[in-house]
Symmetry: C2
Subunit: 288 residues, 2 copies
């Protein structure tokens, strides 16, 4: 096809997929490119804006490394990640809801024993967590893998602190006991801004949006025969529960954090400073 104009571009592209042997890829690409073209026509995208888009995407890709995923952050802040969660993670009644994965998970988090302090020296108010992993009938799921990660009280994940090198802290992987339980000590999560030193930060600033997330702990829970659950536990009150920059808050995911005065902790130690506890049940849906 020659002499393409603003209306014939899209059918010309679609025709090129005639020999695509993968029907799902054909469907996804057809829809994606039709919407991309419709967008360009709808706003009459200028060449300067197109080039700005090219440069934005390039910078976003080049910001990524093994501990930073700027494209996930972009997807998160545009509401796409939460939409994909909503499209795919409809849970049966009673199961814990899912939310965004976020860009700060790592695959080499340290294994942690029951009762361990996973903070690893990260600054923050002490928090003692007991979590139970249950099935829809309320029965404990033993040997479930509970992968936890969180920011410290300066709002930074370990991977955002170059001075830590590859040292991991405020994250860990535990396994439930026969009662479906994990216990660990960590620190209280606090609200934090997503990283604003890259292209996504520039986009937020230019759009008049704040970069804040409400305080949360991340959990990824895996167990044989169950759907993997990727979720957060939030805390109320929090100034950002209704304006989370990544649209991730669900009322059902607000945990019962309880403040305690200095004194005896759940693990029997003495704390000279106030601390918090969190008792949280996670209910997994059976594998489809």
């Amino acid at each position: 096809m020659r002499n393409i104009d603003a209306t014939t571009t899209t059918p010309a592209f679609l025709q090129r997929l005639d020999d695509c042997g993968n029907p799902r890829l054909k469907q996804v690409l057809s829809s994606l490119v039709t919407h991309l073209h419709d967008f360009a026509r709808e706003v009459k995208l200028t060449e300067a804006e197109w080039m700005q888009g090219i440069q934005f995407l390039t910078a976003t890709g080049q910001m990524c490394n093994d501990t930073r995923q700027e494209f996930i952050l972009l997807s998160d802040t545009l509401g796409l990640s939460m939409l994909v969660v909503a499209l795919n993670q409809a849970k049966p009644p009673g199961a814990t809801e899912a939310t965004v994965f976020g860009p700060f998970h790592v695959d080499d988090a340290p294994a942690a024993e029951q009762g361990a302090d996973i903070a690893g020296g990260a600054p923050g108010t002490s928090l003692f967590v007991t979590a139970r992993v249950l099935d829809l009938q309320g029965r404990p799921i033993a040997a479930a893998e509970v992968d936890v990660w969180q920011a410290d009280d300066e709002g930074l994940y370990d991977v955002q602190r170059p001075e830590l090198g590859r040292t991991r802290r405020a994250r860990g992987v535990l396994h439930t006991d026969t009662d479906g339980r994990v216990r660990f000590r960590s620190i209280m999560p606090t609200p934090y801004p997503v990283p604003t030193d890259g292209p996504v930060g520039q986009m937020l600033l230019a759009s008049g949006r704040h970069p804040w997330r409400p305080a949360h702990l991340h959990f990824m829970i895996r167990a044989e025969g169950f759907e993997t659950l990727i979720t957060h536990i939030f805390r109320d009150p929090d100034p950002y529960l209704d304006s989370d920059v990544v649209f991730g808050v669900r009322s059902s995911l607000i945990g019962n954090f309880v403040a305690h005065d200095a004194g005896t902790t759940p693990d029997g130690a003495k704390m000279a400073t106030p601390f918090y506890t969190l008792d949280q049940d996670f209910v997994l849906a059976p594998k489809a």
Copy 2:
């Protein structure tokens, strides 16, 4: 807003633009994100596909460097670049039409004198070009900048040959004389595949598309008081005129390449081998 579902994601995002102080950015982002969300809903994008998309975009960004622009190549092969050209480069009758910029322009192309051999040793059949730059009334435009670039007869641009380092060849920047003319010697363009060793190549392969472009010379022509013209000159016959992987062919941009037997060249030299000539007029539109 909390408890976002598959339909409320989009209004939730749009509401976040309430404080955007740049009306055009607000318009562009609103349209872009609405289409992005519509796409995800339309195909019911899975989490694995979403992650594949994140990885594809990341790899595309990381393929870019100062001599390779994989995102422009992606835009080109999805028909977006040609659509943006069509939206912005409607020319008055009589003006030379525009086509895609492509990813192989460099800003440090060597200046070339009238009659120079810009091939710089690039392999190919000799080509003698005379180009005139005119206004809509047919009057010559003097001192216009004519930036030319092309692949060699192995289908490679200089920047695609690591062995050349930063040596530039088969490209150059000339200026028209008082008759609006530039003359230079180069090599015949040949059809070539766009680079297939990156994410865009994988996308083309997976979609059952060939990666070929018909043979062409690139021109970018700038002159005071005129719209900059970014275009190609193609050659007929060529097996890819109707299936250019970047959708760039316009019938009006097919040049009159003429084959000559060995003998006297336009610059008066003797050629022991056959050669080609191209006489091409470019008509610039006045600046709006």
